[in-house]
Symmetry: C2
Subunit: 186 residues, 2 copies
Amino acid sequence: MDKQKEILNAALKLFVEFGFHGTPTSKIAKEAGVANGTLFHYYSTKEELILALYKDIKARLTSCMYTNADKDKSLKEIFKTLYINTLEWASDHKEEFYFIQQFHTSPFFSLISSEEIEKQTKPHLDMIQQGIKNKILKPLPLELLFNLINSHISGINQYLSSANLTGQKQKKVINESFDLLWDMIT
Amino acid sequence: MDKQKEILNAALKLFVEFGFHGTPTSKIAKEAGVANGTLFHYYSTKEELILALYKDIKARLTSCMYTNADKDKSLKEIFKTLYINTLEWASDHKEEFYFIQQFHTSPFFSLISSEEIEKQTKPHLDMIQQGIKNKILKPLPLELLFNLINSHISGINQYLSSANLTGQKQKKVINESFDLLWDMIT
DNA sequence: ATCTTTGTAGAGTGATTAGTCAATCTTTAT
DNA sequence: ATAAAGATTGACTAATCACTCTACAAAGAT
């Protein structure tokens, strides 16, 4: 077992349950089954651990999000693939997805450089811009469309989390809610 | 000046900036211009203060939200009034609105009883149900529509927060985004 | 085999924190 | 005017926390 990963796993679990400052590093170490000092061997401060955890989770989400989003597909198909991938990842990684939201409304979010944020959002903004240029998407402000899509996904995820549906029904909701979104922005 | 209100104001400001556990009660007292003990005179624990602040802000939002939402108006008009009121309140009370989101993705949210939550959401769910019954809204699951509307508002608010528009343009965005939402759910 | 680097441990530390308490001040009721 | 109740203070405390430090073990390189 990789102790560093154990630390990240433990931190995720505890942060989601007790919050960032509500989780002492000592408890993280204990939950991970490592000594106190080991945690600080990998992450020299608690803040560094939090940021590393965020980046790790974000990277895993991004990676999963783009699977099967082949460039030869139509824009709508690509959009839909990203949409479905995101919601299914969220459903399979509830703690991780919750952590991202928790992080975004925490003081730690301001520690992420604007370049880092841009690097993450740029591909999506580019896609949207392309959609507008090709007259597929409505000629609304880029950021507005972006926020609309993101919050729509977040809303559907909240619904799926609260209503415990079977895999079949969940897929149906994801598919139909995509159409709602697509109709709204095209 | 009411010291209790000063404490809530200071707590709001600091919680938004530094997070719940990142803000010591001593700093709240100092920011509020009161002694340490005074804070604990009004709120016997920090947790109690956090919950009181949430309930206070939520009550103010709810109160503002329903102004001019007269019952003789059509459902669409009522929906639109609530929509606009919420977004304008959010724009005029950025810290408060941010605090609500921060609270919802914090461990403290689980301390709000389900009755309290239901009391807050019931009126909205009832309105949606009425809309479905009257065949105005699409026959989608109640909770789905509810989450869709909420997250739509949250998305528009995020856009308005980042794009610093003039009052005029902001009103235009609010109005037009309502139409997008309304078309989606009807 | 020996040296170097890296990983791991856990007791220890100084600073910080939520909450207490006894003393004073202010307001209200009679 | 006086008593009772409530408000305010700030020093104090016991607990907790992030982080350090020294010692030791494991692994890799030469």
